[in-house]
């Protein structure tokens, strides 16, 4: 993004009067929203065909609003105890807390404003905000991406859920969609060598545990692999924060 440096505003909200990056930011935000909407459709179809009601599918999209956590919840809750799905979803949501640390420096969300800002702290809004060069563009990028994504996420979930409830999952090969969608979420992170080993070890540990522990527990146990690998002495090349998550590759490509 280029253009003259705009004067910083003090209230933390984007200005109504234009600045050079505005049009480009809105276009990228809508593009990312459409991409997320397509992902949400897959989520909605999977959630309903796995046994969640339409209301449950939508409450997850509206309140949890974090793709990987939502899918993990569905994946674990519908095969094992729903209670095992709580740690699975929360452990996948931990990365959002770290995005919050970065975004707090950009957004300065004080008082009650923090309560609604927090809802939009996800992979895409963080990637878009940190990619901009000026504080005002960062804030604008965060809100444009957050609002576009949240809207299209709900629409996509609803459409997917309605489609999913209309078809027989097994006949339409929807059982293949669960691992495929998790792989798509994991894919961008596999560029790093350490991440590949962690992915391999996590999958191996989970598979070893399958016959011995209740459903859902193997996935939670895989978190232990991340804990061990993360606490080992660091190599400098691995220190970039490039996590697995939603459509992060989109933000990187633009």
């Amino acid at each position: 993004m280029s253009g003259p440096e705009p004067a910083p505003d003090r209230d933390g909200f984007p200005d109504r009067d234009g600045f050079p990056e505005r049009g480009a930011l809105i276009r990228v935000a809508i593009g990312m929203g459409l991409y997320a909407g397509a992902f949400a459709m897959s989520y909605g179809a999977l959630a309903v065909s796995s046994g969640l009601s339409l209301a449950q599918t939508m409450v997850l999209s509206l309140v949890m609003f974090s793709g990987a956590s939502q899918l993990a919840f569905v994946g674990v809750a519908t095969v094992g105890s729903p209670l095992a799905a709580i740690p699975a979803a929360l452990l996948l949501g931990v990365r959002n807390a770290f995005y919050g640390v970065t975004l707090a420096e950009v957004l300065h969300p004080y008082g009650p404003r923090r309560l609604w800002t927090a809802h939009f702290v996800i992979d895409e809004t963080t990637a878009m905000a940190v990619a901009q060069s000026t504080p005002r563009a960062k804030r604008y990028a965060f809100w444009a991406t957050g609002l576009a994504l949240c809207t299209l996420w709900q629409v996509g979930s609803l459409v997917g859920a309605l489609l999913g409830s209309a078809i027989d999952p097994k006949t339409f090969g929807l059982d293949a969609a669960v691992p495929a969608v998790f792989l798509a979420l994991l894919w961008p992170a596999l560029k790093a060598v350490l991440a590949r080993w962690v992915a391999l070890a996590g999958a191996a540990l989970a598979l070893l545990l399958v016959p011995w522990v209740p459903a859902g527990v193997p996935v939670i146990a895989a978190a232990g692999v991340a804990l061990v690998a993360g606490l080992l002495p660091a190599r400098p090349a691995e220190d970039r924060f490039e996590g697995a998550g939603e459509s992060q590759t989109v933000a990187e490509e633009r």
Binding site: M41, N96, A97, F98, L103, A104, A204, A215
Partner: protein, 103 residues
């Protein structure tokens, strides 16, 4: 309320509180390289475990459904070709459904 609803509400609110915590906690709490590395690797290990379990766990014992495997492999090809979510999703279910129809 069923157990599923209780779990769903707890997990959804918990995820929101994690986001809120990141915005609210002082910088020093989460700003350690090792803590950040664990946070970065958590989704990698867990998503990979979810892939494995959803492919091979048939309710506490191992199952291999070759049509599903081929469908997912086709999805991986779509990923290698840098296609988006919807394409990967449609290729995976399309190939699996087609194989189920033919065999």
């Amino acid at each position: 309320m069923t157990t599923l609803w209780v779990a769903l509400v707890v997990a959804a609110l918990g995820t929101y509180l994690l986001k809120l915590a990141g915005l609210s906690l002082p910088d020093s709490v989460l700003n350690h390289p090792r803590v950040q590395r664990v946070a970065k690797l958590l989704p990698v290990a867990m998503l990979s475990a979810l892939v494995a379990v959803s492919l091979f766990d048939g309710g506490g014992r191992y199952v291999v459904e070759w049509r599903t495997l081929v469908g997912v492999a086709a999805g991986v090809v779509a990923l290698i070709l840098k296609r988006g979510f919807l394409v990967v999703f449609l290729v995976a279910i399309g190939v699996t459904a087609l194989l189920r129809l033919l065999t």
